[in-house]
């Protein structure tokens, strides 16, 4: 069991983190204090042309791994700015790992010919995650992830997320069952601009991991959720699938339905991406810089409710979170299993975010 909330303003309006903190707070029963976190899109407008790396170091500011990682980063990227992420220890969360954020760009001459900037950055992330005592919390442009051990509202206080503004937010309240609770294991999970909050357990994990490894994605964070962000990244960014098709791969229609409708495109997708199917119960909110996807497993074994209020869309494990923020939504519905809800920024929103 876990709790998730997502908020997107399709017109690009920025809101601060206090709203989502309240929304996830009332889902307290869905977690157990072993993980909470937030993703915010639009957090760093002044640095939005650079990759924002949030990096978590085990130990304190004197940990030797920091120099090692920064040394490595300097061989691969130009670091334009680096700083300690401000934290505000409180009664419930007295201390955490040392965290820094970096705004950086790849050094072009170190990129392989034909290699895209994103692939290069991904390699850097995978390399750092392969080291001991360190991992990359987020690595996308203009996005930031704040997460750790504790209830999400306490994590929110620890990072004072009300100080950040974004046009899209996700939050997660964790109740870990099959993998240990640790700072790096909290959600959201990200790669580049993709972030996932996930309620569920992925029974296809072993199959997914092996498939991802063929393409240079290594799952090193001891949790099943990261595969979703990697699968989605591989499908949409690398292979150029539409969001609908990517969802069709992760939660495919039944063969019987494909036979009946004669939809050869879907048959093709299911045939070639068999190992990217996500099985087991899940409800996810998957965000990327231009929108969000809400998806349930085919059997709808986890709750997800969606709602719309003007230009604001919500997704939540429980309706109460939505009603708290917006008692009179225009529309509220429960998406069917396997049928994605796909949300995009409006033209205006894109303009606003890009400007």
């Amino acid at each position: 069991m876990c709790g998730i909330v997502g908020i997107i303003n399709t017109d690009g309006t920025l809101i601060d983190g206090s709203y989502i903190k309240e929304a996830i707070r009332i889902q307290r029963d869905r977690g157990n204090g072993l993980g909470g976190g937030f993703a915010v899109y639009g957090a760093y407008p002044e640095n939005k042309d650079k990759y924002a790396f949030h990096i978590m170091y085990e130990g304190d500011r004197n940990s030797p791994v920091i120099a090692k990682v920064e040394g490595y980063l300097r061989t691969k990227t130009n670091i334009y700015q680096s700083e300690q992420i401000p934290v505000y220890p409180n009664k419930r969360i007295a201390r955490g790992p040392f965290m820094k954020r970096y705004f950086l760009k790849p050094i072009e001459e170190y990129m392989a010919p034909e290699q895209t900037e994103e692939d290069f950055i991904m390699e850097v992330v995978m390399h750092i995650n392969g080291m001991d005592d360190v991992f990359v919390v987020s690595s996308g442009k203009n996005i930031g992830v704040f997460k750790g051990m504790g209830y999400p509202e306490d994590i929110g206080d620890y990072f004072r997320i009300e100080d950040y503004k974004g046009y899209m937010w996700t939050a997660h309240n964790r109740f870990p069952t099959n993998t240990p609770g640790w700072w790096g294991g909290a959600h959201p999970f990200t790669i580049l601009d993709k972030a996932v909050v996930h309620n569920g357990e992925i029974t296809s994990y072993g199959t997914n991991v092996r498939w991802l490894e063929m393409y240079g994605y290594y799952c090193l964070l001891q949790t099943d959720t990261e595969v979703i962000s990697y699968i989605y990244d591989k499908l949409t960014r690398r292979d150029g699938l539409t969001e609908e098709d990517a969802c069709c791969v992760m939660a495919p229609p039944l063969w019987e339905e494909i036979d009946r409708t004669g939809d050869e495109k879907r048959r093709y997708l299911r045939q070639i991406y068999g190992s990217a199917i996500v099985n087991g119960p899940f409800g996810i909110v998957l965000t990327h810089k231009a929108g969000a996807i809400v998806l349930n497993d085919r059997n709808k074994l986890r709750p997800v409710v969606c709602a719309q209020a003007g230009n604001t869309y919500y997704a939540s494990s429980e309706e109460c979170s939505i009603r708290l923020l917006s008692p009179d939504v225009d529309r509220i519905w429960s998406p069917r299993g396997g049928e994605p809800v796909i949300l995009h920024l409006s033209e205006e929103g894109n303009r606003k975010v890009d400007s």
Binding site: T177, E201, G206, D239, I272, S275, I277, V278, P281
Partner: protein, 507 residues
């Protein structure tokens, strides 16, 4: 073994015993003598109290193979088979070794020949692998309530999104019937296989003995084989089926050719194989046009050209030490499907020493091959089929979790048709009418009933697979392929666990 036993003076390993209290010989019943195809049961005249001469059944003590045919067919249930194990007092020189040497010493140096798969004490890894199941944190799925998908597609998938996929075989159950030739089997068995696979939506394999004209209408569910003897191979033959399989080797006899004794080459067999009646059908050990991987590539593409790239080409190899790089090479040579046959695989006839001592277990072979293909980034270029000693639906699913896309089963087909594993397939005297073309014996197979039995078997295993998947919270079988995370080993050492890619139970 029994034929040879005549020559040496020991009690035969098995013999039938007759309960004359129950036996109906007094009324002229002679069922057992008719049923015994090995010539073990004779009739012995006995004079009754009334002075009338009657014939009672009599064990010749010469050639019983414990096939149990007489036991099953006796209307009075008056027969049982007695096992007379030979003992030696020496713990190293057991009866098996002593017996084998005696046999060879007294038979002018014959190579010991046996049927069926290896019987040795090597570990059966399937038995040391346990499935995961859902508890609390995720719900198991009830296959009676929720859709449970076990369909597989075999064939080359696209390397990149947008590339065309190769021709595919659609399997509605992840189980196919492995190669057994016409000649080794009789036409009735082939027909039953064809009917059942068509009904269930999967495939059977002709083996290397050609594809009988009568069954060509089942081509859409048939895989035809091209082996080193090239029996029955023609353009029509290649185009008549859903896939073509090049047989490089089989698990029961890696590196060894085939031998169908002339006694089994009847008129129909001779026509289908395109060889003279009564002549031995010898498949050479290697293909005489394949001495290296590039030769295999040429044959693969010769077949693809002939079949106009409309059907997948499979390559079947024995599981041998270097299986992983071999599979990688075969995949790169253009195979769409690779069948890996473990050393437990069955056969009609193989030299005993080869059967017992050559090859490796399919569990390790498939896992190693899957891992190698993954590491090279070409796993989806080819489908893997595991075979050789698969005994149950759980073995099927374990093979899939270890990286197979589907499996071949063959011995279970024979068993479903009545086989009692007496291992005398090569004699042509199969008492159940399965591995024989002799008139009078072959008719013991009723095609309709045999097809129904195979149909039942496939359905039963499919249901069991769905149950197992449901307990693991899996609703689509592709989510289990290579999913070693749902397996744990019990009693395996670190090296075994490493090769299988699984953790030990408790970890």
């Amino acid at each position: 073994m029994s034929e040879m036993k005549n020559n040496w003076n020991v009690i035969p390993e098995f013999h039938p015993e007759f309960d004359l209290e129950r036996c109906d010989y007094e009324n002229g019943c002679r069922e057992c003598t008719k049923e015994c195809s090995f010539g073990e049961i004779a009739l012995k005249p006995v004079k009754g109290k009334d002075g009338v001469l009657r014939y009672r059944p009599w064990a010749n003590l010469s050639s019983c193979n414990a096939c149990q045919r007489c036991v099953k067919m006796c209307p009075q249930k008056a027969i049982h088979i007695v096992h007379n194990p030979m003992y030696t007092s020496h713990r190293y020189w057991t009866a098996e070794h002593v017996g084998n040497i005696w046999r060879q010493a007294r038979t002018e140096g014959g190579v010991l020949l046996v049927g069926s798969g290896a019987t040795g004490p090597q570990r059966r890894y399937f038995d040391h692998i346990m499935f995961d199941a859902c508890q609390v944190t995720n719900p198991s799925i009830d296959p009676l309530r929720e859709p449970m998908e076990i369909r597989r597609y075999l064939g080359r998938k696209a390397d990149h999104y947008g590339d065309e996929v190769g021709p595919q075989l659609q399997l509605d159950v992840p189980i196919m019937f492995g190669a057994m030739s016409f000649g080794a089997l009789n036409l009735r068995v082939h027909e039953a296989e064809a009917i059942a696979t068509k009904a269930v939506g999967t495939f059977w394999n002709t083996g290397e003995g050609g594809f009988h004209e009568k069954l060509r209408s089942y081509g859409a569910n048939t895989i035809v084989q091209v082996a080193s003897g090239r029996f029955g191979v023609s353009e029509d033959y290649l185009k008549s089926a859903a896939a073509v399989e090049i047989k490089i080797g089989q698990g029961a006899k890696p590196g060894i050719g085939g031998h169908l004794p002339g006694e089994k080459v009847s008129e129909a067999v001779s026509k289908t194989r395109m060889i003279p009646m009564g002549s031995d059908a010898l498949s050479p050990a290697p293909h005489h046009d394949i001495y290296s991987i590039e030769d295999l590539r040429q044959l693969i593409y010769a077949i693809k050209e002939t079949t106009e790239y409309k059907v997948p080409v499979s390559v079947k190899i024995s599981a041998v030490h270097n299986v992983a790089p071999i599979v990688s090479g075969v995949a790169r040579a253009g195979a769409d499907i690779i069948a890996i046959d473990g050393f437990r695989g069955g056969t009609g006839a193989t030299p005993l020493q080869i059967r017992q001592n050559t090859g490796i277990p399919v569990e390790l072979a498939v896992s190693a091959a899957d891992a190698r293909l993954k590491d090279e980034g070409i796993r989806d270029r080819v489908s893997l089929v595991a075979s050789g000693g698969i005994q149950s639906s759980s073995d099927v699913l374990k093979a899939i979790c270890l990286g197979a896309d589907a499996v071949y089963v063959a011995t279970p087909v024979l068993i479903a048709l009545g086989c009692n594993m007496c291992q005398r397939c090569f004699t042509g005297k199969c008492p159940y009418g399965i591995t024989t073309n002799r008139p009078g014996l072959a008719e013991r197979i009723d095609v309709t009933r045999a097809a129904a039995a195979l149909n039942n078997l496939l359905h039963a295993w499919a249901e069991e697979i769905k149950e197992l998947m449901g307990s693991m919270g899996i609703s689509a079988i592709e989510a289990l392929r290579g999913n070693r995370g749902r397996l744990r080993g019990v009693g395996l050492n670190e090296e075994e666990l490493r090769i299988l890619g699984i953790k030990h139970a408790g970890a």
